[in-house]
């Protein structure tokens, strides 16, 4: 008998633990990659909750499939972080994701989704014009915003339950002071593209069987003079550009010596944790100084203070184009080369 009573109590409690969610974009006006305000055909929003851990870093997250990112009911797991996609909407009108146009997420729907109390709420707004076949790609644009009750950011972030027992709705939307929000570049740098590692890339490019992946790493399958692993690690051959300083007046002296700055361009892959890149510098082709290139917070950098990564531009499909400048005083000659090591994990 005691057991039955306990079950009844739990069922009753769970049925009343939530409030309906009236969610939306509040006062925020969303513009897409093109700079135009999002409309019904160009905007796509999802309501997301954090079940465990933290909000997943969607700039580096590897989803099992692109559809998981935009489908209500999908569970996204990244390490110890578990996020739920709760709802989705296209109710954008002149850039506004109107709360009143989106059906409330009702109690029974929340229960079907398995929502627990106390899950932090966020909205992800996508520029659907950057989708392919109706789904996000690693070239898509998005922004993530925390939601607050009545948009009041001075209070705690909105959660799946306010503690109130009601079927009335909790009105949740981004900070009410946030009136304009341009979308940022979606960087699924380690995303769901098919080239997350060498095996995926080479199998996609050359229809090579699984067992042959290791064997073809150092082959030149397309006969362009570059090995497969080199093509994978460096999407394009490195280049150098000399920027001459013509304002120094050196051209008028008897001994012509025009200073220049060598700017190196290379395309690297940031979405494969097994790849470790370095820039190597030499004055005599015998002794090489190596400085590691690292990728953090969407920027590349070099461990050597004299070497500056002057730009990091995402090219899509996990590939970055970077420019590197060596600020050390040039000797009689300077030589550069990029190398990549495949770490064993």
């Amino acid at each position: 008998m005691k057991k039955n009573i306990l079950i009844l109590f739990l069922a009753f409690y769970s049925a009343l633990a939530f409030a309906n969610l009236d969610w939306g974009g509040g006062q925020t006006n969303f513009t897409g990659k093109s700079g135009l305000r999002l409309e019904r055909e160009s905007g796509y929003a999802v309501l997301i909750s954090v079940r465990a851990g933290q909000l997943i870093d969607f700039e580096t997250f590897v989803a099992d499939a692109p559809i998981d990112l935009v489908t209500p009911g999908a569970i996204l797991t990244d390490g110890t972080s578990v996020n739920y996609i709760l709802s989705a909407s296209r109710e954008f009108h002149s850039g506004y994701l109107l709360n009143s146009s989106i059906p409330d997420l009702l109690l029974d729907e929340q229960q079907l989704l398995g929502i627990a109390a106390g899950e932090d709420l966020y909205v992800i707004v996508w520029d659907a014009h950057t989708f392919e076949d109706g789904l996000p790609t690693d070239d898509s644009y998005f922004t993530v915003l925390p939601l607050y009750i009545d948009g009041n950011s001075s209070s705690l972030q909105a959660q799946t339950s306010s503690g109130a027992v009601s079927f009335f709705s909790d009105l949740v939307y981004p900070d009410q002071l946030l009136e304009s929000q341009g979308l940022q570049l979606l960087a699924h740098y380690a995303g769901f593209n098919t080239y997350a590692n060498f095996a995926a890339w080479v199998e996609s490019s050359y229809a090579i069987a699984d067992a042959a992946v290791e064997a073809v790493k150092y082959e030149d399958s397309n006969g362009n003079g570059r090995s497969n692993i080199e093509e994978y690690a460096f999407a394009a051959p490195p280049m150098m550009r000399r920027n001459y300083n013509t304002s120094s007046g050196a051209a008028s002296s008897a001994e012509i010596s025009i200073p220049y700055r060598a700017e190196l361009y290379v395309q690297l892959r940031a979405n494969d944790p097994l790849l470790a890149y370095s820039l190597e510098i030499s004055n005599d082709l015998k002794t090489w100084k190596r400085c590691a290139l690292g990728f953090l917070n969407n920027q590349w950098s070099c461990a050597d203070e004299a070497v500056e990564v002057t730009s990091s531009v995402y090219q899509g499909k996990g590939v970055w184009s970077i420019a590197v400048v060596n600020h050390q005083t040039p000797q009689s000659a300077s030589f550069f080369r990029f190398s990549v090591l495949e770490k064993q994990i």
Binding site: Q27, E91, H93, S94, L98, S100, P103, G151
Partner: protein
């Protein structure tokens, strides 16, 4: 039509004891989230008469009482006497000479099969959103988006259908607006059903707004359908209430109409008051199966909505003492 010259003035209501009355409804109040209000009257009848027959899906009146019905408004026919008094029906198209009118949605607030075919009736147009709530933006706040504007939320049995006052910044019209099929459409012609209550939200935190509603004080009940689940309802003014301002929960016909008794607060049918300060349910009541009375005294004014939770089959509530 005879208008009474006798008035009974109360704190928030002024009710004529004759056929037409008016009521001041507070739709915005400082430090509250939303008001749950209703329209406590029907519009004055556009025609009255006695039926000369009821067919499968239409009413007949040989004197052409339905000729006044146009295609612009939404009209109901109310049965005013007899055992079916309180039943009402949505009306559709009218015959050329006004002697016949189509009945829509039979069973909503009455059954054609319950009628004899000779009942007395009155025909009323229903109030619309823009008639009750001015939409030019001068009296009530119209805005670029919903959160900055006056809003009205109707509960449809599952969720709230939301309307807001647009100033035409992102819509092609000024006035009441709702989302329909992905578009923001004009919704000022939305009718308000008798006996229902709805939420009104003013975005201005310190605003106090009253509106005055005029209409017909009924001399017969007006049925309110109570569906399974939550029902946002209200009381109409009625002569049979003798002009009483407060209507006792146990004396408004719920017990007699199908409200189911229970032994505890947490099971069976319930009545919920609304707490405008929290925007949530207030006190709740149940019909004590042992005593046959509600577990605590309460009363509800016309224009103040409340919520009936129906744990069983649908029934028609006849709000009469």
């Amino acid at each position: 039509m005879t208008l009474s010259s006798t008035f009974c003035t109360q704190t928030s209501a002024r009710v004529e004891l004759g056929r037409v009355g008016s009521h001041q409804v507070r739709i915005a109040d400082p430090s509250t989230r939303a008001q749950l209000v209703s329209v406590p009257f029907l519009k004055s009848a556009i025609s009255r008469g006695r039926l000369d027959g009821v067919a499968t899906s239409n009413f007949q009146d040989t004197q052409g009482a339905f000729a006044a019905i146009d295609t612009q408004g939404t009209y109901i026919l109310r049965i005013t006497e007899g055992s079916a008094a309180g039943a009402w029906f949505f009306l559709g198209s009218v015959s050329a000479n006004g002697t016949s009118v189509q009945v829509l949605d039979d069973g909503f607030a009455g059954m054609l099969s319950d009628l004899q075919g000779n009942e007395s009736f009155s025909v009323h147009a229903l109030y619309t959103l823009h008639e009750l709530f001015p939409e030019d933006g001068t009296f009530l706040p119209a805005a670029d988006i919903d959160l900055n504007a006056m809003q009205v939320h109707f509960y449809d049995g599952r969720e709230f259908k939301k309307f807001w006052l647009s100033n035409a910044t992102i819509t092609e019209h000024v006035g009441w607006t709702t989302a329909e099929g992905g578009e923001l459409v004009y919704a000022g012609e939305t009718v308000i059903l008798p006996g229902t209550s709805f939420l009104v939200l003013d975005p201005r935190p310190s605003a106090t707004v009253n509106i005055r509603i005029q209409g017909n004080i009924l001399n017969a009940p007006l049925n309110v359908p109570i569906y399974p689940g939550y029902n946002f309802v209200s009381l109409n003014y009625n002569k049979r209430f003798d002009g009483r301002d407060l209507l006792i929960l146990g004396e408004i016909g719920l017990k007699e109409s199908g409200f189911k008794p229970s032994h505890t607060q947490s099971a069976g049918d319930r009545v919920f008051a609304y707490n405008s300060a929290t925007g949530r349910f207030g006190q709740s009541f149940y019909l004590d199966a042992t005593t046959g009375e509600f577990n605590a005294p309460s009363d509800f004014q016309p224009s103040a909505g409340f919520i009936v939770f129906n744990s069983g089959e649908a029934y028609l509530w006849r709000p009469l003492r």
